[in-house]
Symmetry: C2
Subunit: 303 residues, 2 copies
């Protein structure tokens, strides 16, 4: 038995569509939906679900079909870059599986999704077929609005499916990768320039941390701005370093950090790093947590 996690991002925040997608996933026996989050300003749904590889693949196909039927990208607005209704589908190895297996799953899912729904598919991250395609930024260049134009350019043909966007569902990036962390830090200001400057200071391609992508966005719900970040290798770039650097940069604008949030569940390892740094307990490990030690001793720990 091998467990795989899948964290698809869909371009919707319509509660009815969200429910239909979740229902498609839950209808597959052996699928565990661990988390889902969506909000209007990103206009995006992130689902985290897990199970055995083949079960996850089937459930993902069912959910993707619902999204293609229900989401019309021509009317989609949102602050997060996106190319399609089923914007990105990453397979992540958990207990008893490895990256190679997740690459296979990604390829199989991409092939079947392109064939059955007519949506062009790009493979990214560990499943990429060429070096430049590893990056979601490269795939998403021009976003949904310029997708047809971009896809026509040399070297930008999809890995599977037609060489033009699905009329309402755009295109989809399918990949395999290690767990990432989506971490958003809320600032005590409505000044979007401040959020963008801090985002720039953190971003890997703008002088920041090599495993961080960051954007500054306005959050209508609170009236404040937010630095939205993806940490692609939390093993190398722990949360404390990201958070303390945001605080450091915010200080120059006299802007306080008023809170933060994760989008989706985080790996336990991220909490271990906090103990090591903030409490200076250098050799702390997951076995030092009583519930984890007990679950392991009883043969019940899933990784």
């Amino acid at each position: 038995m091998g467990l795989v996690c899948c964290t698809p991002n869909f371009s919707t925040s319509d509660p009815e569509v969200v429910e239909a997608i979740l229902e498609a996933l839950r209808s597959v026996e052996g699928v565990f939906v661990l988390d889902h989050t969506y909000d209007e300003h990103y206009n995006r749904l992130v689902v985290v679900f897990a199970g055995e590889g083949e079960v996850v693949l089937e459930a993902m196909l069912k959910a993707a079909k619902v999204a293609v039927e229900r989401i019309d990208m021509r009317y989609h607005r949102g602050q997060h870059p996106r190319i399609g209704a089923v914007d990105v589908v990453p397979f992540v190895p958990l207990a008893g599986t490895d990256m190679e297996y997740c690459v296979e799953l990604a390829r199989e899912f991409g092939r079947r999704f392109a064939e059955e729904c007519g949506v062009p598919v790009y493979f990214y991250a560990e499943a990429a077929t060429r070096p430049e395609r590893r990056s979601l930024d490269w795939i998403r260049e021009g976003e949904f609005e310029k997708l047809e134009e971009m896809m026509a350019k040399p070297g930008r043909e999809p890995d599977f499916g037609p060489r033009k966007p699905h009329s309402t569902a755009g295109a989809t990036a399918v990949g395999a990768r290690k767990p990432i962390i989506n971490f958003n830090v809320n600032l005590g200001t409505s000044d979007l320039r401040v959020a963008r400057k801090i985002a720039k200071a953190l971003h890997s391609e703008k002088g920041g941390l090599s495993d961080v992508k960051a954007i500054g966005v306005y959050v209508p719900r609170t009236g404040n701005v937010q630095v939205g970040m993806v940490i692609s290798s939390p093993d190398r770039t722990p949360l404390y370093r990201v958070m303390e650097l945001v605080r450091l940069e915010a200080k120059r604008f006299g802007v306080p950090v008023v809170g933060a949030e994760f989008c989706g569940p985080v790996p336990l390892k991220a909490l271990i790093d906090l103990v090591r740094y903030y409490l200076q307990v250098e050799d702390f490990d997951e076995d030092d947590i009583i519930e984890v030690a007990l679950a392991k001793a009883m043969g019940r720990w899933p990784s």
Copy 2:
């Protein structure tokens, strides 16, 4: 089925005696030894083990008998206050059990241990028979060296067993309580006065935090001093508050905090508190950890 955790403290750091005690625990089917730590300067062994209540009780009796046979308190020296070979035996409720059940276990263990080994037993914490006996400090007053004298005083008769110490094993405190955290902070100085002043600033009965007991000790292994603390209600007094207060007090002496360590595994809740405070993610919960969410979804989480 109900799980109970037991974290007995034995007055030894002799590797052979430690091994004999662990072996006695492990020999009982259904016992999970999660952790054990011991060192010379405390001259003390702390074991964390868990299992179903009755199994834990039987294993604890076996281990206690080994300790009574192998440890001679007349020759024991150590920096931690103690009254006996089996110094303290706390039962802690886990999944599916409550405090009432742990009080019953404590009473049953105390009665049988006193009868079968001739060691006087005091009930403490939630198992105490009188208010003043809730406190280990009260029970340990004068330590092993003055035990006979103290026990003869009015109101200090043991709850079970003879009214004088076992000649080599002293007396034992047996109780039921919520999980506690033993947290030791290492300072960058060999000056014991600094550790003692910081310990005083933290201690509940000296103007410090109401759930913290603290002592300053010298650590021969490193040549530095340490503030050794017990946090009796980590739910009310989270680790960040303790750590930041130690840092604050250390600052006035110009002494750095060079590291820290836990004695025994910590409850997961303690890590949740770190995320909430240091990362300002106010609504973070154990379900936001991917492995925990998955273990729960699969019906494998032990609490």
